[in-house]
Symmetry: C2
């Protein structure tokens, strides 16, 4: 409530010149960000969407072409429309997908690395399973380095601006130290720093579900929604929240760790050390063992259990109903704490919710009266399993999008 | 990430004129907001704090004087300093406390109404107990109206800009409908609308703890803290959160309802209908009955139990330890969900925390490993029991502070 947001005009000439450069940088960022998110856009549309002059847009896009960040081409002929038109058609501005970031998604049983281009296109990807006991930080750094080099080597891609990493744990924002990743057994692991040395590129990292909610809000099931929670479960459960349009981080990067909210005081001890956390109740291995299967099967094994339940296998049906009930109880915590308009679910939570939406809603209602005020809108992730991966790419691309020239112009 | 935040300069003259008026309005708001929060401030300090020209500040304060919102006076003589000074001393700008808002704090057993002046000064207040069974909406409207008229009648105050109400429940932001206030037994109560008709003034309302955290952030124990949770307990427990400097509301106004997060699956049924909510474990009546006292005694009775525990009364000591443990378990939920740097506690939570900080911290550690990453800084509310009341006044004053002239200049 204190402090002005707009200052008086005037002052020496150099300040005005700096002001113009600030405006220009902001406009450059707006154009590149627009085509990055919305895809190919004509100059005419950019002029109207960004409320800038035609000549300003022309200058900006020409500059971005020179910098190798976008291309400009005449639109494909559309005979019906072109007949009605007079004058030259407006050039279409496309983000160049050969401007890329490396995105890394660390999961408990899998490492995925992808080369993602401007526009959010996954150009190449590699995904490797790794077993429990292979979570030594050094070992993971080596594995990610190998997978990254496979993607980069044969490329001929003009530019990789950096690396973004999705982590199933609490990441400190100031220095990207991994404070706590219970399912990897990591405490204060300097993973991004080590990876950066290995790859010789800048590495940024954030919590998987925080990246997931950002990606779903940008390109997935929650575009335009101001209050959204994203929850995903494979082995653990992670949560990320956008509230009032703003991504929540918390003081230590631990906001939205809803997998460690209590759902059952009589429950099992969690890997985090507490008792009865949500993630002790819903997860791949928990569902598989409840259904009488061996753990470690991944989402395909979960699908098999869901099909067996559907086909009348009683033990599987009970296991699915139980998972659906606890999915609801945990979602009730999410609603009580954050009051989202939309909850985006991914992983086992999504599979279970699609199989038994009625049981999930019973669980929500049992545990939260607040959730009953309006129907909570539960949706499957629009980007499927890739939300954290895409979010990691966006994190790595963010500095380029914010300032396409950068301090050291190309 | 899409859309520009700064637009190209230029355009027709009317646009430039409009721009100047926007800047002027913003500066006017900055000056009034500054003295409202920081208290009397010299023109020289305003010039430096707000980074505006001396003459601009002079124009703005003169305008605010004309509008009856501030006064300007020479500073009181400070002989030691004035000897060193040359030229006229800078005038001191003070907010006028006779520009007021009515603040109403509805609690389960009490209604407080206060006349709060610019600068955040409580000028007059009236507080009345009311018993369970007197929560009929009409009855409460009448009681608040009577108390308000008592405060306004003998005043001679120049200006009351509106009414702000603090509600122990979920308030919809769009129309201030009280969606759910379980401890008052209200569902979809149009309390603000009814009160507005009765008083003939605009009435705004929000959740008590949301107003509480805003007030603590502005004037209390969390000034300058970007990630803060405020929790208070009397009969129920309310929570409000500022994350990354931004007040959280949620889609329905229900964000931060941490009193209804689960702490004990074997617990009692809550007034909200769920089982084992935090507020079934910690509260005035719960503590009094555990200590073998009659319920309904309020915070003085709680103090008496704390003193008895201190003096060696075993039953009281057990009751306090139990409350402290569950205070910790509930705070662990707050940390797990929101990851605040500071938790501001008020009411019974504050009393219990001050009596047994060690037991509270044990409870936090038992229930959350994330909370152990850094010591969570628990602080007593800087505004004591008044945070929601002061927050309600700020809510009512906010339109004046944002635009001191308003659409219809005085």
């Amino acid at each position: 409530m204190s402090g002005p947001t707009v200052r008086g005009l005037g002052g020496p000439g150099s300040r005005a010149a700096r002001g113009q450069e600030v405006v220009r940088r902001s406009n450059r960022s707006a154009v590149l960000s627009h085509v990055h998110v919305a895809g190919p856009t004509s100059r005419a549309e950019l002029t109207s969407k960004l409320a800038l002059n035609r000549s300003t847009i022309g200058d900006l896009t020409a500059e971005l072409v020179t910098m190798g960040l976008v291309t400009e081409e005449p639109p494909e002929e559309q005979p019906a429309r072109s007949a009605r038109r007079t004058g030259r058609p407006s050039l279409v501005v496309r983000p160049r997908p050969d401007v890329t970031a490396l995105a890394v998604a660390l999961e408990v049983d899998r490492i995925t690395v992808a080369l993602v281009g401007l526009g959010g296109v996954v150009l190449r990807r590699t995904s490797r399973r790794h077993r429990p006991g292979q979570h030594d930080v050094r070992h993971v750094v080596d594995a990610v380095t190998r997978q990254s080099e496979e993607l980069l080597e044969p490329g001929g891609y003009t530019r990789c601006v950096g690396v973004g990493v999705s982590i199933p744990g609490v990441v400190r924002r100031t220095d990207a130290l991994i404070r706590f990743a219970p399912n990897l057994g990591w405490v204060d692991a300097p993973f991004p720093e080590l990876l950066s040395k290995e790859l010789g590129m800048s590495v940024v990292a954030d919590n998987d579900a925080t990246l997931g909610v950002a990606a779903e809000h940008l390109r997935g099931a929650a575009v335009g929604v101001e209050d959204v929670a994203y929850v995903r479960s494979d082995i653990g459960i992670g949560g990320g929240v956008i509230s009032g349009g703003k991504l929540l981080h918390g003081a230590q990067g631990g906001s939205g760790e809803v997998g460690h909210l209590l759902v059952d005081s009589r429950g099992l001890e969690c890997r985090c050390g507490a008792t009865g956390c949500w993630e002790t109740k819903v997860g791949v291995d928990r569902l598989l063992t409840s259904a009488g299967r061996l753990p470690g099967g991944g989402s395909h094994a979960v699908e098999e259990v869901l099909r067996a339940a559907e086909a009348g296998d009683e033990r599987c049906a009970e296991a699915v109903d139980e998972a659906a009930y606890w999915t609801g109880v945990g979602l009730a915590n999410v609603v009580t704490a954050f009051d989202p308009r939309v909850i985006v679910v991914a992983g086992v939570l999504d599979q279970v919710w699609r199989a038994r939406p009625d049981v999930v809603h019973d669980g929500i209602g049992h545990a939260s009266r607040i959730a009953l005020l309006e129907e909570v809108d539960v949706r499957s992730a629009g980007l499927g399993e890739d939300s954290p991966l895409i979010g990691a790419a966006e994190l790595a691309l963010a500095p380029l999008l914010a300032d396409p020239v950068g301090e050291d112009p190309a």
